[in-house]
Amino acid sequence: MTYRAGLALGILLGVLAGIALVALLLKKKVLDMHFDERQELARGKAFQYGFLTLLAAAYAYGVSDVVLGRWCDVLTGVSICIALSVCVFAVACILKDAYLSLQERPRAVMTLFALLSAVNLGLGGLYAASGDLMQDGVLTFRAVNPIFGAATLVILVVYIVNHLLRDREEAE
């Protein structure tokens, strides 16, 4: 098996494992997709913001590639765009109390996010230490892990800060 075929197989297996994990979490009701009418409206608006961010980020990435030359692998560039738009969507939802559904337990979901963030940032740290993160000045596909780790960390921090501020506001 060539290096590229192994790489493609690894990515495919990773994606399949991710889909299986999400399916399991949905089945176990850790993740749930039932929202009330106000939350549906807020999420619709958040989807708009996320979509527009994705368009802008994809265009900016394309322009940066033309102007600066190749500075990252395509997979990394696409991952940055997706992570940015997911962050915008999630933050817009969190600020409107529409991120978690009626059935989801905030503590379980945020523990999952903390775990995902720690694993991905940890992998990023390992890659950085071994010098695999950059090759010839180009950010390699291995940067995908820390990018998604950073995205989940941003969502986690915004959720916790918003939760604490809201609790204080309601207590006053």
Binding site: D36, E37, R38, Q39, D97, L102
Partner: protein, 65 residues
């Protein structure tokens, strides 16, 4: 505009926002947003709230000019 009539009707039944939210199948934040006037509920949710609180639509949601 704040919906003080809904808030007082809920308080009159000694119900918390969470209890009302559970009874009508929405989040507590949605009930809070309705009471604060930040969200206009659909007629379906208005009816569910009225039934739970034992009030009419006019009593809770009609605003005189």
């Amino acid at each position: 505009m704040k919906n003080l009539r809904m808030k007082s009707a809920r308080a009159g039944l000694d119900m918390s926002q969470q209890q009302l939210a559970d009874a009508v199948g929405v989040s507590r934040q949605t009930i809070n947003a309705i009471e604060k006037g930040d969200y206009n509920p659909t007629i379906r949710l208005c009816i569910a709230i009225c039934r739970t609180l034992g009030k009419t639509l006019d009593e809770l949601f009609w605003e005189e000019g």
